[in-house]
Subunit: 452 residues, 4 copies
């Protein structure tokens, strides 16, 4: 069920093409990572243009706006606002001037030393206009630029000073720079289309502009395009990489490949692992749309129990869903997710969800299945139990609100009204992404935080 | 692939409830039938209120607008504008005053004698403000009311005079009336929730307000609610019913049941029929989202060839998709539909689409599959060949534009670049809905028009 | 002080020019007659285009909208919504189809037999979509067209049937028709610019498009332009004309000329008459902006007492003025109208207002003047006492709310806190417009209604 | 004729009142100083709220927005964007965080050392988000705060460092600070309402909230309100004050008093001086609305030649005036300003305009007067000849575009088609404001720049 999204970034250096338009399509493909705000900035020699605001990419941009965004370099951003932050001023890219002229910055992730850095600069007289990490990042780059020989060197120095999760795209008048934090918490890939270079949060965005996937940016690496050539600085790269495992389980689109691992295959594997751990007897396996569907397919492949569609998801929720008056939450869930009686009635069901966080939604879903005539409902979560918050950008509630922090599996099963309940084990979690080049952060399941 | 949608209607008589809010949720569930305009009208004794406009239900209505729509009866509408008509004035419900006070009308369908009727009334001095059939229908009801004893009698007389497809909901100060044309071209069902009565285009809308499905309105029947009781006039009912078969293949949501037949099962059956007609050898069966998915599942069940996800559909297209500049249509298709390399690569594919109309989109989709590494691509259409236009509301292009009117199956196969191509036969079409109470209109495939 | 406005119409027949743009400028000049809604309709052979909505002309129309409004004929409307009617559907022009094709209608005024006519047509089965008189007028024209040889003959017949105030512009595919009710309640003038003909509510709109003033449409006259020529039918003209005298005192712009009489001169005359009736001793004469200013000037000319600016009017009130929280109405008046201390302090003031309706605003204004240091405040109204409502479109409140219906002049003077108070006499009223070709309706001051 | 406007500021410290609402009314009264953007920021203990954007005060704010702007201190701004700067990001107040928490800044004026200061800080690693002087000012305050004991001390230090025109209002969590540059280029006054203190660009804004005028902020003075008390630091005050004389001639509202001088009286005096310098023989004196009207009245008083209304100004131009297609500029002027034939025809006219800058508009106006039948048109400018640009915020074009830089008075007279032409002399200019406490900057007429 829906937990939250992450932000997404896209950038292109294309001296011959329509950079704003390519970025527009790239952001389209990344829209699942954030629907609150979006923005595109372009640069043409010294002239920087930017359009950003709240809403979907398809709603915020028009033909005439795209036509005004001229440039041979562009960066774009889609933003998930989370529960903490609804300020429109925080839309990205951030554009500014500094000692070397114009600069635009967009990022995905969450710093852990942001307040500390902000304080340090405020003690030197700095002022901050927003509450975003992006502004802190931009400040550090500007400060570093004072004694660095180049913008990319300044970004490299910033990478050293910043702690936490950050995937950066930075654009100056003649350069496009991208960087990924040394832990590699969030994904960032490189593509090529003709002479143009593209950076994007996920490979599905490369597909949308018909760019060829070259490789991923390495954790800690700074890459830049200048004069049509791609350069790299790997000085900050280490072995300690830890991609957020939740990218595979939930955030990323299944048609993306992250650090060598197909997201689709990882979800299939999660389903197969569940099958090994919980070899249940049932008539049909269903998934909770959208992320649970592939894992359900994996369970079906491993067990031979037929996979089928259990729910019809309403695709038209829109921006301002008005809650039912005397809201039975059940009614609300039903508007978004209607059980398909034809596949449910008189069946023993295995239902796979991508995660169980507070346990409030799964209760309603199970009730809907029973009303539709399900004989048994066995619930499997393709993520392990959430036991700890995330400090790197995933919007996980406090321990008090986490279902698995307050109850045993048996108690949870009884509360949600399932016939049985299972979670993917930590061991299995380690096996879902065999093709991945780097290891993972699973702190929300294990409390093993890679930094703190 | 996307062809078009139909309109949808919803109505409720609920003296104790919040009729506008229920209608809001009902329209949410019917949004797949039309996304251009929507509207809700309510009546409270003599005071009629209406809010309508362009956009999705979730965008047009706010909490405060719903609160202003008071009433014990409400009707609502979602509208598909087609290629012919983009006038905002044509949003429904239509509200007006006539000899007996206020009246609101919403309908789904297309009259075949609209111009004729309009002309007749213009010869009597009538003026028309819109280009909608709704206004013609309202006019006939108002005229009929002059010599009819009641509003429902006037509607009944209108049903006699109107030709073509029409599913009506009509609301006067104290009555809710619904009617379905004698051919039953478009669906209309009746639900009950406590003391309230609900009419809706599809049963999925009953589910969304937790109403129990009572039965379908019969072709030709006029039903009305007055003083809390449901009444029926079946005088115009005949045996010649002919529901649009495309409701099962494409328009309706799979969780709906029409005239006794589950839409999901009908699509499964279409897939099974295709399996019988085209027993191909392949590694995987995939469907083109969304309507092709269930038929693909049916083919898989019948043949044992694994069903899998072939495409990731971008769910965030938004209202104003800006086309690529030097548009390769392929790029446009790719933004909406990205092949899932993991399930496609090196595989022999059977791809099931709900229909092939002009053949332009399927060309691109096949090319995308080949680029993603498909070894073979066999295309099956779960609808027969389109050979003739529809006069009852389905937005089918002229014969010149219909792929199957200009080419043989072999030629089409070669043009679209498939390894093989097959269409559901007319015979099989007759078998996909065994539970349906009435027969079907399949004129677009057979030229057997039920009226003309 | 502000009472209300009237609607305004503009129309042009110009085979060589940009009719929509001319109408745009014409409506600009008529904006003082109504700020709620506006609209422009154009016709090009058989294609009718229309854009209308709420807001000012300068806000509703853009370059691209004007460019889409093609045609060799155009009609436009600005609308004052009054207290009765805020429905957006009621914006004009009204566009429709009838037996002879397309028709567009805009009008200024108020029918007295509208309900009666509506009822008559509802008994024949008519339906009405709006609550406007325009729709009734259009209906009658359409009915009349059935047995009339031409559209202008149909309009002529409508003029016979309609009672009350109506100034009409009507456009069919090849004709522009204008008509004025037989009483001539509202103004309508004819202009010429090259080969083009223009109709407008006031001559200031002719000036704005550089058209030359030809003459006024006569009360009861129907004029039309066809094939570039102007035609007239005066069959309904009578001697009983009665232009609303309030057009001169309040509604019209001072740079307009109505039926031969300059509005500016009429106001000057009203001031001179006041001087004759109330030869007061004072240091300065001031007017309440805007309509009171010219009458104050007239008083000054007649008496030699210097005219000066008494108030600075805030020109930027905008659409949504938010009232003070614990509203002293005084504060609200002060935001709109600030006394100019420099001309007020220690002075004996004669203040001329265009009318005193409820007496609520003038109380505040006098208090402001006293706070600004005025030694004496003598108030003169350039309109007589309002004693009766208007049935022809002027938005005058009921007798209970009319100040002069409840109190004597002495009582009113004491309530508003003035040193003296005087109203223009009915006799004087008869002398303010010596150049006018027709006589006037002064029923709101005399209860002598020209029809009823 | 219209030249441009200045910005305006308003601020209030009112522990018991509705600060946002008072600021709303204050900005209403200052709207003539800028119509592009506006904004209000409030602070409640530590929570800062801000709403700003493009449009008029009456359009941007709603009841619900005002209700969300809580606080015991508020500052507001109306902005004139000039020709240089149309960025929405530049709307004020500017809000930010710095070492001591939250800060909001709004200002009117133009710095002459802004680029220099910006450069200095960029060399220390600063980044700038906007192109406004406000951001530079905020930066300096933040830097100064590092070694100053208080926010007001930091503002005082900033006053020392900044050069040019600046009128500041600054708000921190518990203090409201205001400052005026040592030259006193722009006005700033102090008012009191009960226990509340108010700062505003003009006294007309004090009137609008019924505050009593206490005094003006002295050039160079920093004043602040803390704990309900008003404090002052006059350490930067000098004798070299130089208020922009154009405030009296054009910018300010006539009901305002600046540094002891009534704006109305100053304009009357300018008219009287013109009468002394140009004792012409004519039938009537008219003014070009709005600023020319009072000077015309002054000329009339001095000469006895009757003052009359020469033009009717269209008050409804709106935001997006669409220019005539094959624009005769004359037509454009006529839409905004229609001559009043009744006072013009067959008359010898003296027309007073507030200034003649490029000479393009006055040409059209004279032509309109002649078409309306004027026998003679004598033009007098109540400002001397513009010969040099302004570096302190007034939007005067370059020397090449200044009419008086290229032609003699005789040539100008001939070009604009006047019968005679005169400008106020520099000597007379020195006499129009006898009550003013400080001297004036008249550099645009004399090239005597107070700083540079």
């Amino acid at each position: 069920m829906k937990l939250n999204e992450e932000c997404g970034v896209f950038a292109i250096y294309d001296s011959g093409g329509d950079c704003a338009r390519s970025t527009y399509y790239g952001l389209y493909a990344l829209q699942h990572r954030g629907q609150e705000d979006c923005g595109i900035a372009t640069i043409n020699d010294l002239e920087l243009s930017c359009h950003k605001g709240s809403g979907l990419v398809g709603d915020l941009f028009s033909e005439s706006i795209l036509n005004e965004l001229n440039g041979t370099i562009a960066i774009g951003h889609v933003r998930y606002a989370g529960s903490r932050d609804l300020h429109r001023e925080n839309a990205q890219p951030l554009t500014l001037t500094y000692i070397k002229g114009s600069l635009a910055v967009a990022h995905n992730g969450k710093l852990t030393n942001s307040a500390e850095l902000k304080r340090e600069y405020e003690y030197k007289g700095a002022v901050f206009h927003t509450t975003t990490d992006s502004e802190v990042i931009a400040y550090i780059i500007a400060q570093a630029r004072l004694h660095s020989g180049s913008a990319q060197a300044a970004v490299n120095e910033a990478v050293k000073r910043l702690k936490g999760a950050f995937t950066l795209v930075v654009m100056s008048s003649r350069k496009l720079i991208a960087a990924r934090d040394p832990w590699g918490f969030r994904p960032l890939c490189i593509g090529k289309k003709g002479d143009a270079f593209v950076f994007a949060s996920e490979t599905c965005a490369l597909d949308s502009v018909e760019a060829t996937y070259l490789r991923d940016v390495k954790p800690g690496e700074v890459v830049w395009v200048e004069g049509g050539e791609l350069y790299s600085n790997t000085e900050n790269c280490t072995e300690k990489a830890s991609l957020c495992i939740f990218e595979h389980l939930y955030f990323a689109r299944p048609d993306s490949v992250i650090d060598g691992q197909s997201v689709y295959e990882a979800r299939i594997n999660a389903g197969k692992c569940l099958a090994r751990e919980y070899p249940l007897s049932a008539d049909v396996v269903i998934g909770v749309p959208d992320s649970g569907l592939v894992a359900a397919k994996g369970y079906s492949i491993a067990t031979g129990i037929p996979f089928n569609t259990g729910f019809v998801k309403n695709r038209y929720i829109g921006r301002t869903f008005i809650k039912p008056a005397q809201a039975t939450r059940e009614e609300e869930v039903k508007i978004k997710l209607n059980p398909l009686r034809a596949t449910i009635k008189d069946k023993r069901i295995i239902m796979i969800d991508d995660s169980i966080v507070r346990g409030t939604t799964v209760v309603q879903i199970i009730r809907l299945l029973r009303e539709a005539g399900a004989k048994e409902v066995h619930v499997l979560s393709s993520a392990p139990k959430f036991i700890s918050p995330c400090f790197f950008g995933t919007d996980i509630p406090s321990k008090q609100e986490l279902f698995a922090c307050s109850y045993t599996t048996e108690e949870m099963c009884s509360i949600i009204g399932a016939d049985s309940l299972g979670f993917l084990s930590i061991d299995s979690l380690g096996q879902i992404a065999p093709d991945a080049k780097y290891s993972f952060c699973d702190a929300c399941f294990t409390e093993n935080y890679p930094i703190l």
